[in-house]
């Protein structure tokens, strides 16, 4: 546990220093923990657990867009779980349930629990449709076609800077749309 938290903190520090591969590894590492907690929260609220992936994606977007509020001198896990808890409560409230979410829900994947690799999520994808064409194209190119920023720039005859701007704006407006729904 302690080891895992230290590893996450180290990865996040590298990510802030500009190491995108470390950031990718960190997001991959936290996702199963977030997913397990989301499923547990949904189950306890009597909601179908197959909606957990929407919550996981919502949390990941918030982590990404608010990562400048993380203090690099502090451990990463409490910050992450605070965001996750906030988003989970929000999601359950939107589904009409008020429920107490225990911070321990995020502490670990319980031993008996079968890890769920991935599940279908529909909310982010649905909002992706309504983005301005340029942002949607860029997001789709990077997300679905696994193209790099450079390749995406070449494909749409844009500068790399413009691709970066469209990418970030796209992620910001996706998050805004999720919040409004």
């Amino acid at each position: 546990m302690r080891e895992r938290d230290d590893e996450w903190t180290g990865l996040m520090r590298s990510a802030i220093a500009g190491d995108s591969a470390a950031y990718h590894r960190l997001l991959k590492a936290v996702t199963p923990v977030l997913r397990a907690a989301a499923r547990r929260g949904l189950a306890r609220a009597g909601q179908p657990v197959d909606q957990s992936e929407d919550i996981v994606q919502d949390i990941l977007l918030a982590v990404h867009l608010k990562r400048h509020t993380w203090d690099a001198g502090a451990p990463f896990a409490p910050w992450l779980f605070a965001i996750a808890r906030n988003k989970l409560i929000d999601a359950l409230r939107r589904r009409g349930r008020r429920i107490f979410v225990d911070i321990d829900d995020f502490a670990e994947v319980l031993p008996g629990e079968a890890p769920v690799e991935t599940a279908s999520a529909s909310e982010v994808a649905a909002h992706l449709q309504s983005l301005p064409a340029r942002q949607r194209d860029v997001l789709q190119s990077i997300a679905v076609d696994s193209a790099s920023i450079k390749d995406t720039a070449a494909k749409f005859s844009m500068t790399e800077g413009a691709v970066r701007v469209a990418l970030h704006r796209g992620l910001t407006s996706l998050t805004a749309k999720l919040r409004e729904q």
């Binding site: 500009g18 997001l27 991959k28 977007l61 509020t69 779980f81 679905v144």
Partner: protein, 218 residues
């Protein structure tokens, strides 16, 4: 089916990692820039409608005139510090809330100090003063541009309790507006400040909490 986009979590993660180079402005810097941008509006309101009191040079020799600025500036700085602390998702008021007691403490000490001095005017006259209505109008009005700016600045944060963070934005902007107003107002008694400034500040704080609960959710 054409036009149907899928985005599974691995794909989302890849996209977020691609955006790693983007750096957001720190919340504190954003808040300061927003307040600086709004300050001219409040200053314009102040100088066109109120202005500094004409006897300011004499007034500055009165410790109770100076005390008003100690209270309002302590309030503004404490509220800004607390609002920045609360803009982090894992933060709570614990450990930081006591900062807000500083302006209250200064004001209480001022009331005590005034009580111990011989006074020409009775307590109620000093408390009611001559400018209570102006005080309760001018402070909220001049704080509105600052409040809007503070809320815009704090939107970069991720507060766990948006209403409390919004209330802090209200306190901060009321503290700044009250600093301006204090240089206009001829009522210097700490009793006047404790009554009318507090009512005006409470109003702005309530507006901040109300709006904050909507706009500071992340």
């Amino acid at each position: 089916m054409s036009g149907n986009i899928e985005m599974d979590t691995d794909q989302l993660i890849r996209t977020l990692a691609a955006d790693n180079a983007h750096r957001a402005r720190p919340v504190g810097l954003g808040l300061m820039l927003a307040l600086l941008a709004a300050a001219p509006v409040s200053l314009l309101m102040f100088f066109t409608e109120l202005g500094i009191r004409p006897d300011v040079m004499t007034a500055m020799r009165n410790p109770f005139f100076d005390l008003k600025f100690a209270v309002t500036l302590a309030l503004a700085s404490a509220a800004i510090a607390v609002s920045l602390h609360l803009s982090r998702p894992e933060a709570s008021l614990r450990g930081f809330g006591w900062l807000l007691l500083i302006p209250a403490g200064i004001l209480t000490a001022g009331i005590g100090g005034e009580m111990m001095m011989p006074q020409r005017l009775p307590v109620m006259t000093r408390l009611v003063g001559n400018n209570s209505r102006a005080c309760m109008t001018a402070i909220p009005l001049m704080s509105l541009p600052l409040l809007a700016a503070a809320l815009i600045g704090l939107r970069q944060g991720a507060p766990a309790h948006p209403a409390i963070a919004g209330a802090m934005a209200g306190l901060a902007s009321a503290g700044l507006a009250a600093t301006l107003y204090a240089s206009h107002c001829t009522d210097d008694s700490p009793l006047f400040v404790a009554t009318w400034y507090t009512i005006a500040t409470a109003l702005v704080t309530a507006i901040g909490a109300l709006v904050g609960s909507k706009v500071l959710k992340y």
